[in-house]
C-alpha cells in the first residue's frame, strides 16, 4: 500500500514538473525539419526510381500501372501472395514487379534505391490504417 502511494506521488510530481518547465528530451523543431527533409529527399529518389525506364529492361516504369504509387497497398504487408507461395514483405513484391512486368534484375533488399522506393510508396499512402495480411 505504501508503495502505491509513493508511486502515485512520484507520478504526480513528474507531471507537475512537465507543465512547469520545457519538456525533457523533446526533439527541437529544427531537428524535426531536418529529419523530414532527409526523408523527403529519399522519397524523391524513390519517385525517380518509380518513373525510371532503366529500372527494368523493357522501358516499362512502375508508375505506368501505379500512378502516385496507388494500388500498391503497402499497409497490407507482410502478406501471403498466392503466386509466390509465401508471406512476403513489400520489397519482395517490388522485386517481383521488377522481374516480371519490367523484365529486370531484382535489387538487394537493403539497396538504397529499394529503401527509397518503399519510402515513396508508403509516403503516398500515408495516414491509411495498417491492414497486415489483407487482400
Amino acid at each position: 500500500m505504501r508503495n502505491i502511494i509513493q508511486t502515485l506521488f512520484l507520478v504526480a510530481a513528474l507531471s507537475l514538473g512537465n507543465t512547469l518547465t520545457a519538456q525533457a528530451d523533446e526533439f527541437t523543431k529544427e531537428d524535426l525539419d531536418i529529419w523530414q527533409k532527409e526523408f523527403m529527399a529519399v522519397v524523391a529518389v524513390g519517385r525517380t526510381a518509380f518513373t525510371d525506364p532503366n529500372l527494368g529492361t523493357n522501358g516499362v516504369v512502375c508508375a505506368q500501372c501505379h500512378p502516385n504509387g496507388a494500388n500498391t497497398h503497402p499497409e497490407t504487408y507482410p502478406k501471403f501472395q498466392k503466386q509466390i507461395g509465401r508471406v512476403i514483405t513489400l520489397p519482395e513484391m517490388i522485386n517481383w514487379c521488377i522481374r516480371n512486368p519490367l523484365e529486370g534484375k531484382p535489387m538487394a533488399l537493403d539497396d538504397p534505391k529499394m529503401v527509397a522506393m518503399q519510402a515513396y510508396i508508403t509516403h503516398e499512402r500515408r495516414n491509411v490504417k495498417l491492414a497486415p495480411g489483407k487482400h
Partner: protein
Amino acid sequence: MMKKIFSITAIVLFFSIQTAFAEPLGLPPVPIPADNPQSKAKIALGEKLFNDPRFSSTGDVSCATCHDAAKGFADGPLKTSEGIKGLTGTRNAPTVLNAAYMKSQFWDGREPDLEGQSKGPFINPVEMGLENHEPILTLVRADRTYWKMFRKVFGLKKKEALTMDHVAKAIASFERTIISGDSPFDHYYFTNDKAAMTPAAVRGFNVFLEQGRCVSCHTVSQTHALFTDSRFHNLNVNFNSISGGVKALARRQQQDKADGVDLDVSILTDKAVAELGRFVVTGQWRDIGAFKTPTLRNVDLTAPYMHDGSIKTLEDVVDFYNNGGVVKAGDPVNSFQSGGIRPLGLSDTQKADLVAFLKMLTSPLN
C-alpha cells in the same frame, strides 16, 4: 506410466480411424463432398470397379488401362489414350494422382467433380465404347459380389435402386485415396530438411520460383503444394493448327452443343474441336485454346506432356516454355496465348537445374 502409454495409444488409434486417409506431407486435406463421404467399403468397391475391364464394349478396357498405377496413373508413352480396338482420342491421359484436389475435371474442366468425370469414358466411342450406362448396371446388379458390396455401401434394398450415380460415387471415393506427397521436395520445403534435394534441384527450385515464372500457375503454398492453380491457360501448344479457321470452328461447335451433340464425343473424336479447349464448355472468347494447369507431382512418371501429349520429355517442356510457348524459338504464337507466357532467357544450366527440381516431385511408392 502405463496409463500414459495407454492414453497415447488411444489417441493414435483415434486419429488413424478419423483420418484413415491422412494426407502425406505437403498436401492439404482432401476435399470430400458432403453427399459422398469416404468409407473403407466404398473405397474397396471403387477400386474394384476402376480395375474391371468388363465395363467396356470389348471387355478389355478399364479405367486402369489409361490410368495405370505403374505409370503414375497415366498411360505413357502414349501421346493420346488408346481405348477399345486401339482407337485413340485427342487428349493425353491426365493422371488420377491428386485429381481429388482439382476444382474441375478433364483438361477443359467440363465436369465439376470426380463423380461426374468418372461416368464419361464408359460411353465414349473411342474410350470404353458402350452405347449407354445400362450394361454396367446390368452387370453389377447380376454379379453377386458387386451387389453385396453396393448393398452394404449404399444401404440399397432393391437392385433397381442401384444407379450409375452409385457407381460413380464409389469410383470417385477410390480416386480420392490416390494422392501423393511426401516427395524429396516436401521434405526440403516443409520439414526444412536441406539435404532432401540435390544442390542442382535446389537451384532449380529457385528458377521455378523466379526467372522461370513456373510458380505463377503451378502454385506452391506456405503449408502445402498442389502445383496447380486449377485455372485454364492457352499456352500455344498446338493452337496454330486451327488458328486459320477459329471463327467457323467455334461457331459450328457452339451450334452443335446447342443442338445437343455430346461434348465428350465431339471433343475426343474431332481434333480441331479438341483444340478449342475450355471454350467448348463456357463459350467465352477468353477460354479459347485454354487448358487446365496439371499438377507437377510425379511429373517425371507421366511423360509425354501437354493436353495432346505432343512434348516428349521434361527437357523439351522446359525448352518450350523458355522459348515463350513454341517448340522452336521464334515460331509464331497465337493471338489468344495467355499473358505471362514469354521467352524466359534461361541458360542451359538453369534449364538442367529446373528439370532436376521437377524430378524431386516424385513420391515414394507405397
